[in-house]
Symmetry: C2
Subunit: 354 residues, 2 copies
């Protein structure tokens, strides 16, 4: 049996024109901000439009203006609450200027190209990448098409890609100083993925400080930015012969896994037996189940800078890529032993300044 | 000083045609799946397109076909990891058929209309709403425009809106039975927002069971689906003269807040002193910091049904709204005292069947 498909045609500009008894171009002008049309005519048109459910077609308009007001967001790790915050902030901040996110979730670690080539086909105004990578081919394609790329929280060697990130080197140095001055002797670092430049910068800051303080052995394991891999990494650290008493994790989300394993599986007390510090300051870090000391990466500020860059690149397509670092703070909660001094209190948090 | 704006025009179909030495319509056919064009010609065209960064314009195509392959998603509570899962699942499942999410984050509890009227202007194929509400006016507008609306995890009195939800009544009944058979005497319910029909259904199931078992007093407080309000609600419950020893929360996210307050502020042991059960089964519920007993709402299945409904509504615009319930399970972990029997083990979890 062949089912007869009902068709319900969406109302058009011409339908509105007929109903309102005006020309089609009057309808078009009535829906164009700033265009000239008599007040009475405009009201008649808006009334007719509403009565038949007509919507001005922004797709058609973006074909004419070559601006869609759509920003593609490629995101690779929505399980991590930090990236859920990035999505929320980007959506809310773009909405203030009438722009919206076209969302592409991409496999973690893998290149996001196949999905993102489609994004280009939608004539997006810009491409934001978070926990997601583009190939050199895709980057070149974007540049040819005049679509700026901004990465959040990721480094790249590719030319022409703008980047916004937190203070990665300083995060590592400050956490190392905090733990060292609290009297720790045995250190470990739970890294993200092996190819994560962000994780490498944090590790570099951490090791540089500790080595200059005379600490020679700093064990590194990979938590791959997931809860599961970080749990496995924590087990391997804590079941070793000479386990660490201070663990720095390249993300809060991995620090939660380390705390879970340390307390539930190894019966350790945090911070009496072991100190754990993360990076990000996701909302869960403030919940008392974890009460995590962490170096903050303010998602709101990162997104604000990313949008600034997009606007600059759109206004001036010839300009070079922009790199922007957003300052963070070491927020002191209950998951790590503390040095004697160096603290201040700001409005929300206790901060350590070294 | 007026800055001279550089313009870099995106390459067009006609640019590709010139470069490849073919007609514009050949270029158009080369980018249309199934259209007839000689293999050698197609390759020449694709090569020319790539060399100048041309992308077929899906916006233009969607004007012709009246299908944009864009689904608008209005979401009101991305802090809650359940909704982060919904976004991820919807994005991944839609991508399998080459469709993508245009994201609208909406104020929690408020009507999402102003943002969503813009969604209609983008000629979206459908509108999915999660933790977000539409007015009757917007609903009518969508119906006139032939855009189906599917709500995830929310009830509505409005006609023509399809809904996908979990087993809300059964969740309440089963949790009540579990707690009652474990020997509890003093019950409380931490509701979502006052106007949440989902929360009301869970409460109704919970109270119906307990009342029929002879329990008369069941205290209800509102956690508004946020961590902060649920913490305040928990404080008021636990500082009362005769505090509950069994608390059912309308979401896992609120249950985490209740556990934090009970253990850290009131020094209670979960589950020895107090049992806490949630709804959703977000990944964090399985982390050992919370180890939460909870009634599951499988985000993947909810999204799958939502997409099924969208496809049916698009194929047959005249059909009536569809309501679909997705089964869940009471997943037993460590946050509540247990009845003597009624358990089975499936692949991943220990389940209680009553």
């Amino acid at each position: 049996m062949i089912k007869k498909e009902k068709t319900r045609r969406a109302p058009t500009e011409s339908d509105v024109a007929k109903l309102a008894g005006v020309s089609q171009s009057a309808v078009s002008r009535a829906f164009t901000p700033g265009a000239s049309v008599a007040k009475a005519t405009r009201e008649k048109i808006l009334h007719a439009a509403q009565s038949i459910g007509y919507q001005p077609n922004l797709l058609a308009r973006s074909l004419a203006t070559r601006r869609s007001n759509i920003i593609a967001l490629a995101i690779g790790n929505l399980e991590n609450p930090f990236y859920a915050m990035v999505v929320k902030e980007l959506s809310e901040q773009l909405a203030e200027t009438g722009r919206h996110i076209l969302l592409f979730t991409t496999p973690k670690g893998d290149e996001a190209d196949p999905a993102l080539e489609r994004a280009l086909s939608y004539q997006v105004d810009a491409l934001v990448m978070a926990a997601s990578m583009a190939s050199i081919e895709l980057t070149m394609q974007c540049q040819k098409a005049g679509v700026p790329i901004v990465q959040i929280n990721r480094e790249t060697k590719l030319p022409g890609i703008s980047t916004v990130w937190g203070e990665n080197q300083r995060a590592g140095e400050l956490v190392a100083a905090f733990l060292y001055k609290a009297g720790h002797k045995k250190y470990a670092f739970v890294a993200g993925t092996k190819n994560s430049s962000i994780s490498q910068m944090r590790q570099n800051g951490f090791e540089t400080y500790l080595k200059s303080a005379g600490i020679k052995k700093i064990k590194t394991v990979y938590g791959d930015y997931t809860f599961e891999a970080a749990s496995i990494a924590a087990r391997s650290l804590l079941s070793a012969k000479n386990p660490p008493d201070a663990i720095f994790c390249a993300s809060d989300y991995m620090a939660f896994a380390v705390i879970d394993v340390a307390t539930r599986e190894f019966g350790l007390n945090v911070p009496k037996d072991i100190s754990v510090i993360g990076v990000d300051n996701v909302p869960e870090a403030g919940h008392s189940a974890y009460d995590l000391t962490t170096f903050s990466q303010p998602a709101g500020s990162l997104v604000e800078e990313a949008i600034n860059i997009i606007d600059k690149m759109i206004a001036d397509p010839g300009r070079r890529a922009i790199r922007c670092e957003v300052a963070g703070e070491l927020i002191v909660r209950g998951s790590a032993k503390e040095p004697k001094d160096g603290f201040i209190n700001n409005v929300d948090n206790k901060i350590w300044l070294e």
